[in-house]
């Protein structure tokens, strides 16, 4: 017999550390052709952080993103970043990049104040140009020419920046508040499952998965993260085991291929993705990290849905067909 059930869960995920400090540094240099080299220490391990940081740099410098170059392999010599973990890069490195860009803009203004014979405060860096506010027709230079003139004038302009969330402080004796992390993101997932009570197989029919991310700097990447997290969480929930040699030591896996991660065929037929934005005071434009959290939701949502379907809590991952059958048998024995 096939039994359907639905489940809903709320989860959260911290973005960045706090207690021990969680700093990042960044640098951005103006190149002779007017493009920019962004130096960051956080490696993009697939989550898209380099794209996010280029977006932040392009937005702050007021230049096209195509003109901001960033190597993902610079972490041997780039400024220090605490790294890609704790879903922290969007929250923390974005500040370092923004601060580095503001620093570079100020250096460009100072350089241009000599050229234009104007006060640095009257000089704008915008639209991929440098110009004197209110006198743009007479005093304006394309960024390509700025880079060229800086170089051939014997100068080199580099902006540097850093940031970290407020470092640890003891909890407030009156309220008990003790912010432990830079920000917290919130997720919610709904799952519909069908349990085959004779084989124990679980079909995930439909999911809907929403994350509150402060500000979606890149909505497509946010959706990709949520769907990717669904796959990882789905594998954890119903397929993978931390003891892959189960049920005997004779069956030790030889390659990663022996480990059952979900295929597209295992994904739900319908997987809806939602983004919710409540700007966070600690984030650049309100943005915070969330991506690892997207792996947290599928497990509990599916566990609740299985309970709804067969009336049994299966409180071990993976919720394997064998665990389902054994639980149904134990339930039948109890009567």
């Amino acid at each position: 017999m096939k039994k359907k059930g639905v489940g809903l869960c709320n989860v959260l995920h911290p973005s960045g550390n706090k207690g021990a400090g969680d700093p990042s540094q960044a640098a951005i240099q103006l190149r002779p052709d007017g493009s920019f080299s962004l130096l960051i220490g956080a490696s993009d391990i697939g989550q898209g952080s380099t794209t996010i940081l280029r977006q932040i740099a392009a937005e702050t410098m007021q230049v096209p993103i195509e003109n901001v170059f960033c190597s993902n392999f610079a972490d041997d010599f780039a400024p220090q970043s605490h790294g890609s973990f704790a879903s922290r890069v969007t929250l923390i490195d974005s500040h370092a990049v923004e601060n580095a860009c503001e620093d570079l803009k100020q250096k460009i203004r100072l350089w241009a104040s000599d050229i234009f014979e104007a006060s640095p405060d009257d000089i704008e860096v915008a639209d991929n140009k440098v110009f004197v506010r209110g006198a743009e027709a007479q005093h304006s230079m394309e960024m390509g020419k700025v880079g060229d003139a800086v170089n051939w004038g014997g100068s080199f302009l580099v902006g540097t920046g850093s940031w970290q969330p407020d470092v640890f402080h003891p909890h407030d004796p009156e309220t008990g508040a003790m912010p432990a992390v830079g920000a917290i993101s919130f997720g919610c997932m709904y799952a519909e499952v069908e349990v085959d009570t004779e084989t124990g197989q679980i079909d995930i029919l439909k999911t809907s998965h929403t994350w509150e991310v402060g500000k979606a700097v890149n909505p497509l990447l946010v959706k990709g993260q949520i769907n990717g997290g669904l796959g990882i969480g789905l594998g954890m929930a119903v397929l993978e085991s931390s003891f892959p040699e189960y049920p005997g030591l004779d069956n030790a896996p030889v390659t990663l291929g022996d480990y059952a991660v979900p295929t597209f065929a295992d994904y739900p037929q319908v997987s809806l993705v939602g983004i919710c934005e409540v700007p966070h005071p600690n984030g650049v434009k309100g943005a915070k990290g969330f991506s690892e959290g997207s792996t947290n939701a599928p497990g509990p949502a599916i566990m609740v849905a299985v309970h709804d379907a067969i009336g049994i809590w299966i409180d071990h991952y993976p919720i394997s067909p064998e665990r389902v059958l054994r639980a149904l048998e134990a339930q039948a024995a109890k009567g």
Binding site: E198, E245, N251, V254, A260, P262, F264, P321, E322
Partner: protein, 283 residues
């Protein structure tokens, strides 16, 4: 890959001469989807590889009432061929659940059979349909019923000088049903495979075929359960009894994919379900 002798004959007669010459030293390479990983990861060391992809064994045709499939036919072609869809829908279902699109486009039906894994998807619908295998050597050729082909895990009646060239599926009566459980829905080695076929007159079973995969060291035909069905009207209760009898004939083991306990439980449910579907009962 290590250095091996490699031959890619373009005529069947050349391939058979090579097999006669190298005998046990030769390993036949078709799609390579089982063989190459075994060479690369599992320390198989063939001395001589004979590639049979150039022999023209990639065909599907009708011969009289029989469906004839060349052993070198990629599994993907079974999915799109109208003759297979008409003659052997259970084989199409087995091909659909076989591995993944990339592997199906290279792996061959002959390879899936000759590799002699008890988890080989395509073997079971062929057993349910009384398929015969054409084995050819330089000296002779013979037809072997598929259930007599396997003698042990990875072992067959194929002599070192012989090549599996063709699969012949007779026109059989009754509906064949293929069901599979894997750890996941694609690219999954089977936990249990069930293929059945029932020849019915009204509701009465005139002949039955029940085969089980991944439930014994060899692809298993369940003779006792088949006998239990013969001459009786098939209903849900009889299907359940036959399913228990069929699984009683098996000898599943604990392995990385599932325990023997689970295989027996789920296998029983699957056989009953397959019989009900073949008999046109609900479920």
């Amino acid at each position: 890959m290590q250095d091996v002798g490699y031959f890619a004959p373009t005529e069947l007669s050349q391939a058979l001469k090579l097999l006669a010459r190298f005998g046990k030293k030769a390993t036949v390479l078709a799609g390579g989807t089982d063989l190459v990983p075994r060479i690369n990861y599992y320390e198989l060391k063939p001395e001589v590889l004979i590639y049979i992809g150039g022999l023209g064994l990639d065909y599907i045709k009708k011969s009289g009432q029989q469906l004839v499939i060349g052993a070198g036919t990629p599994i993907a072609k079974l999915l799109e061929n109208p003759l297979v869809a008409e003659h052997a829908p259970a084989l199409v279902e087995a091909a659909r659940q076989h591995s993944s699109p990339a592997i199906r486009s290279v792996g061959t039906i002959g390879g899936n059979i000759a590799h002699a894994s008890p988890a080989a998807d395509l073997v079971y619908p062929l057993m349910a349909m009384d398929a015969k295998l054409k084995l050819v050597s330089a000296k002779e050729e013979r037809l072997v019923p598929i259930q007599e082909f396997f003698v042990g895990p990875g072992q067959t009646v194929l002599k070192p000088s012989e090549l599996l060239t063709e699969i012949k599926i007779p026109a059989v009566k009754g509906k064949a049903v293929y069901l599979k459980l894997g750890k996941r829905k694609a690219q999954a080695c089977s936990i249990v495979i069930v293929a059945v076929r029932l020849e019915l007159e009204g509701k009465v079973c005139k002949a039955a075929r029940i085969s089980l995969g991944s439930m014994a060291p060899l692809p298993l035909r369940c003779a006792k359960a088949e006998k239990l069905l013969k001459g009786k009207a098939v209903d849900a209760a009889l299907a359940a009894r036959a399913a228990e009898a069929a699984v009683g004939e098996s000898s599943p083991i604990d392995d990385v994919r599932a325990s023997a306990w689970y295989r027996r439980k789920a296998g029983t449910a699957l056989v009953a379900r397959a019989l009900a579907q073949a008999a046109g009962l609900e479920g």
